[in-house]
Symmetry: C2
Subunit: 216 residues, 2 copies
DNA sequence: TATTGCATTTCTGGATCCAAAAACGCAGAA
DNA sequence: TTCTGCGTTTTTGGATCCAGAAATGCAATA
């Protein structure tokens, strides 16, 4: 593992598994065996179990009929469910955050945007994209709201890799990102909220479109 | 314990603790000792730990600086946070649910409303109130949205008991409930969404008002 | 009497153990 | 060859064990 900045083994296991799922190292549908994961993370099964439980609560892991658990594979319906929730929550967060943005916040968001928009490992595109969004919303001062949005972003991050093959689509995303950042930077709350609505709506629609109508 | 309809001990412990917190048997701020809870629930510490973890994720339990955990005591800011999230999510759920409501759904909601509005144990008022709301939103067909809303309702349920002393306030709530149910029954999506917005907004404001400006 | 330091007790997180349930695989029957 | 049934293996949930951290309480001192 790259880094372990967690006080306890359970947090560490959680962070490691979450990262592996989000960047697709653990593919949707892969079954999770506690013993194996414990060996890989060099801890006992106890913290692995705790991590799996948390991931279940977040929706990144799903429980099969009985006992066994696997990496959640989202359906078209679930992607739409998540998209609509983002569309309800992110404009709220942006609306609260923009009036509180400091120069430091804006600089951080700007850096995050640069990182998100440049070419890079497709596996981490979703992650980098989410980091930009969260950087802008972070100053909203609503921990629970941010947690909820983070969970939603976590769920779809890994599916973005398939969408970024289309270059014209990427240009559009860059454009929407830029518009959002500009509105936030100029302190125009209404414009920022509207830009968020547009962008999240578009992004969700694109993700939904990736899933065939009849697929699981 | 009254009922134990859970297959495994962890679910059972979770349900039991959640119920005790929601109806105020475990007061905000009370520290949770695993050993004691395990003895009370007649299981070992393992499932209790799992239950506490889940409750932490939901926000009903908070972790102290180190190790010890207690029943979450919400602050004014957190109540507002939660209220705004409800205001973002519940209209969405109602808007999706109303076109799909069956006669059975409406009957269930109507019963739930009757139960919520009649005099009864103040400790369970929040719970009964939430059940009505959820009954109306249940057919929305969005499991994740419903989970999120349920979690939010869980968090504030126990604080409603203090609000229902005021009888004029109760009349207003009954009125708003009735308006919402009527709109839903008539299939008027826009009216139902608007009634939800009004009611949730009012309810959240009343809860926030209960907390002194400067309190924790 | 109030306060600081230390010994004791309590409690938690993590590891390990155990029984039961589920998955697997093989053999025999159709 | 394919399906079904049974014995074996694997894996999980729950219980218990253990070491370390925090809290508690007592005593000695100012």
């Amino acid at each position: 593992m790259v880094a372990a900045f967690a006080a306890n083994a359970a947090d560490e296991a959680y962070a490691a598994l979450r990262a592996q799922i989000i960047r697709g190292d653990l593919e949707p549908g892969a079954t999770l065996r506690q013993e194996l994961l414990a060996k890989q993370l060099e801890v006992s099964r106890t913290p692995v179990r705790e991590a799996i439980n948390r991931l279940q609560a977040e929706g990144l892991v799903e429980v099969l009929s009985s006992r066994r658990s696997r990496v959640a594979a989202l359906s078209r319906a679930e992607i739409r469910d998540i998209g609509d929730m983002r569309l309800a929550l992110e404009p709220l967060a942006i609306g609260l955050a923009v009036p509180r943005l400091t120069a430091t916040d804006l600089r951080a968001a700007s850096f995050a945007l640069q990182d998100a928009d440049e070419e890079g490992d497709p596996a981490t595109f979703g992650e980098r994209n989410s980091r930009f969004h969260l950087a802008l919303m972070d100053p909203c001062g609503r921990p629970r709201l941010l947690d909820a949005i983070t969970s939603l972003l976590d769920l779809t991050d890994r599916y973005h890799r398939f969408a970024i093959a289309d270059e014209s689509h990427n240009d559009l995303v860059r454009d929407e990102h830029r518009r959002l950042l500009d509105a936030a930077a100029s302190g125009n709350v209404e414009a920022a909220v509207e830009a968020t609505r547009t962008h999240v709506g578009d992004a969700a629609a694109r993700l939904v479109a990736m899933f065939p109508e009849t697929a699981p």
